[in-house]
Subunit: 568 residues, 2 copies
């Protein structure tokens, strides 16, 4: 396979062998290249930052839930290294073309469409889709390049180099709604003039596992586990990630009114059950149990339709409900869907957007619960007005712009929908992960532990950080991790049989830990220290009345993981 | 003398002896208390930050240019320790009342007037002056508390907790125009509800030096030097700090169009000579050679009047001309005066405001040179509109809000009016000072060195950082340093004779170096590292065409000073 380096300043392309990266995939690959090649103290929107798309080690193998890919860069939001991964078919299509990773280098002022096929790379002026909503841009690309292409896109937020700008990939149905959401990677794409990447896998050879028989045998076991585990065979297919609303609300962890409390009065209106019921009742274009990747057995996604059965947006995920819903004191699914739709049209991270609106509500710039106010405010983002720019800068900066100390962020990034006072393991992850506040960097909400107790949370988070990184490196969806448990050998067998690189379960774990280490190394060079590995003051000082807890895992205990200590 | 601690949450006052701080004054005192008592990773607008006003070791002694005082806190702008000092009569009045330092603790939501006299401390609701321009607020306070009081005030910016909010003290004429400008200290005051401090020195005992005869003798020498040195006896009295315009423009160091180049076409319109000529020709309320403190022999200040001789504002300083003038492509003194006036009415740092408007101009939100556009934009700050909030957040954040990499800041703070590519010693100071970009933390522009060469700049900056800190500790105006040269013994004699604490010239130097060390120590706990001790990329990469130079003092050489290295 190839590593393709594209210099956006002069639009030249260089293909390299993936020789030295054979055993790396996904996040391990993006983070290694960044740590090796990007100056850690450089400006994230400057010429020396690199934007890397890397397929997972299992991407394209046909294993269920394994077609994810990573995007990485130095983040304008956190100032540190960032990896954000997504499903859909764009990573898969890149892999089909025989490309393991794309590395975008340098910057440019105008916007380009980068067309990649077996015949090579072509560039086109992106002017026709600049400033357009993503659904319209995707439709233009399909018309121009054919119905079978897959795309990556940035929206108006990325064009404006906003901190909450994301990169959108495409799902099975051609919708550009699979998001590399976190860390402002869309702004990095914007700084490089990468408006759209069009992937055309026409006339390419079919991907074949290196050792077809072994792969098939091992796959059976893996798929068997997915089928026999209730989470992957029943809960997630039926309710999707939103099944968590009921759980976190009961724990007092559902972010409500700018993370001031962890439960909301009308939570029944926004549970996974209500979402499912609403979608099924309305019928039409809405659907539950929707797969974003071909062959995914979990099918956690959905399409939300309005009262007339017309598609509004998809998917509505747990994080969207938490951040664009309860966090804003909004418990109306139609409003959440509309906010979600706007995020998808503008190309922004829903979590960061919800965090931004939440801080603005804490400052009474918009009232809590003002559904129309939230929608209208978000529309300013597209217009690029001062208010739009403020929203586009993300929660952390809004806190600084308005002098608001209640800002639910670590390393500059908004927390996903878990109050760290009520799921303390995630508080440890938010604090110590190289990624900043990111549940996918060390998800502990499903761990068998008293989430309100401070005991054992560092260990739980540490393990979760390793497990999630394994998944990120392989291109696996984290929802399969409950079914796999810690049976790394099977994953290693799948990778070995697929890629022909012999690796063991231990290698897989080591690679994950090495990845995290490399990321902390970059962050350290960028200026991060233990002082960055804590939550904002108010989580320690102000009780979450729903859980009756403050965050009290000690800084000292957290210091045993995370960035390397100077005194060790 | 007393240290007065005022808890703003419950409005209680505690007087302490200054016993353990006898040998500390000004910056040494504020920085020591902050490092000892403020949690370094805490929120700058949170309850645990402290806001400290401390008089210099010579304040009130009657020595020329010695009545300065320091204000310190953890800065919301830099995230590190901050000290900002000013002249005028407010520090002097505090000293007259027998108070060495005021320490404001905790936070509150409403705004208070704090009245301090020999009879103690009284609090009053500040509502009548909330939202008002500072000249109006000062006039209200004079009407209410008497013509002889001195005040400290924050303006609408501080009330809104904006990053560029400053604290205004009062000059000899009762104008609240002596500024603790840098670091957003006005926002810290705002968070604590400290709207105004009214100092009434009625019926207090006259200050007498501990050893009157020695003090008088030594003072003669010091005053003699001021009289025999051309800078302090002629250039500064005549032209004020603006005498520098001619010098820096010739060096290619005068910030022009958002620090893109170091010279401006019509610089003749904004030189110190032109300023003086304009003021003298217009007559009326305008004046040059104006002293901000009683007995100051340097008298560098001025009052600028309009064409009808009516006072517009004062003083117009070099930094204001550089940041609100050339940096915005504005070379009209009347426009600069109007921008300066608005800054003084709103209570903001002129340097940070000019930096903010410069970045907005780089983004074409306002056009370069659009005089009316700049004035109208600044007015938004008072209104608290989204654009006003953006301006109020300072240059660093505006760069992040708009994705603009050309942002002339270090440690989050806007550079004063010296392009570091053309005065490289200041580039070293900006990088390595605990204060961020701040000329008063290590001014090298008057050093006998080739400012375009990289050779020797680290040494020059290091010495300047020590000298400036000595001045900050003593309450001396830095403009006297050229006359004193390095004759520390005389300064030590003055301090010993005035305070009764025997100190030597060596002690004075050691105290300054210890102060800087304490500040770096705080910053290190707050998370600063060597990665924060560099200039933004573009100063290394893009030539300043006026000087024909980039900044090229190596990071390695700069690393020999500044924050403590991990590997040393």
């Amino acid at each position: 396979m190839k590593i393709l380096r594209i210099n956006m300043s002069n639009l030249t392309v260089k293909a390299e062998s993936d020789e030295k990266f054979r055993k790396l995939g996904g996040r391990a690959l993006t983070s290694t290249i960044i740590n090796d090649e990007v100056p850690a103290t450089g400006h994230p929107l400057g010429a020396k930052n690199k934007l890397i798309f890397a397929t997972g080690l299992l991407t394209g193998s046909g294993a269920s839930s394994a077609d994810r890919y990573s995007v990485g860069a130095k983040s304008p939001l956190t100032g540190g290294i960032k990896e954000s991964n997504a499903g859909g078919i764009s990573g898969l299509t890149l892999r089909k073309i025989g490309i393991k990773a794309l590395v975008f280098e340098d910057i440019r002022d105008d916007f380009q469409i980068i067309h990649i096929s077996k015949d090579g790379v072509k560039f086109a002026d992106a002017q026709p889709i600049v400033g357009k909503d993503l659904s319209e841009a995707a439709s233009y690309l399909r018309d121009k390049y054919g119905k079978n292409v897959a795309v990556w896109l940035i929206g108006v937020a990325g064009e404006q180099k906003m901190n909450l700008a994301a990169i959108a990939g495409q799902d099975r149905d051609g919708e550009p709604t699979r998001y590399n959401g976190r860390g402002g990677l869309g702004a990095v794409a914007g700084s490089k003039g990468v408006k759209a990447i069009v992937l055309d896998a026409s006339e390419v050879e079919k991907i074949r596992p290196n050792n077809k028989e072994t792969f098939k045998e091992t796959l059976k076991k893996y798929h068997g586990w997915l089928m026999e585990t209730p989470a992957t065979s029943k809960v997630l297919p039926e309710l999707g990630s939103s099944s968590l609303v009921e759980t976190t609300n009961a724990l007092g962890a559902l972010p409500t009114r700018n993370f001031s409390i962890g439960t909301i009065e009308n939570y029944k209106n926004i549970t996974g059950e209500t979402l499912r019921k609403t979608i099924l009742e309305r019928g039409g274009e809405g659907t539950t149990t929707h797969a974003c990747m071909p062959g995914c057995m979990i099918r956690c996604s959905n399409v939300f339709a309005d009262k007339d059965g017309k598609r509004v947006t998809g998917p509505i995920e747990y994080e969207n409900i938490g951040l664009l819903g309860s966090n804003l004191d909004i418990t109306n699914l139609d409003t959440i869907a509309e906010l979600n739709r706007l995020c998808n049209e503008y190309g922004v991270d829903t979590i960061e957007t919800g965090g931004a609106l939440g801080v603005l509500m804490a400052q009474d710039v918009i009232r809590f619960g003002d559904e129309n106010g939230a929608i209208e405010a978000l529309k300013e983002l597209k217009k690029g007005t001062p208010l739009g720019r403020i929203i586009g800068s993300g929660a952390e900066l809004i806190g600084k712009i308005y002098g608001e100390p209640h800002v639910p962020t670590t390393k500059g990034q908004t927390m996903p929908a878990y109050d760290p006072r009520a799921v303390k393991g995630l508080g440890v992850t938010y604090s110590t992960s190289p990624m900043g506040a990111d549940h996918t960097a060390g998800q502990t909400v499903r761990a068998q532990i008293d989430h309100h107790s401070k005991v054992g949370q560092v260990e739980v988070s540490k393990n979760a950080q390793t497990v999630n990184t394994i998944w990120d490196n392989l291109g696996l969806c984290m929802f399969s991790s409950g079914a796999v448990q810690n049976r790394w050998d099977i994953l290693a067998e799948l990778v070995s049989a697929y890629t022909g690189e012999e690796i063991t379960g231990e290698d897989i774990v080591n690679l994950a830990n090495e990845t995290i280490k490399v990321e902390h190394e970059f962050n350290k060079k960028a200026g991060f220290t233990k002082a960055d590995e804590k939550l904002p003051d108010y989580f320690y000082e102000e009780e979450n009345k729903a859980s009756g807890t403050v965050f009290d895992v000690s800084h000292e205990e957290m210091s045993t993981i995370g960035i390397e200590r100077e005194d060790l």
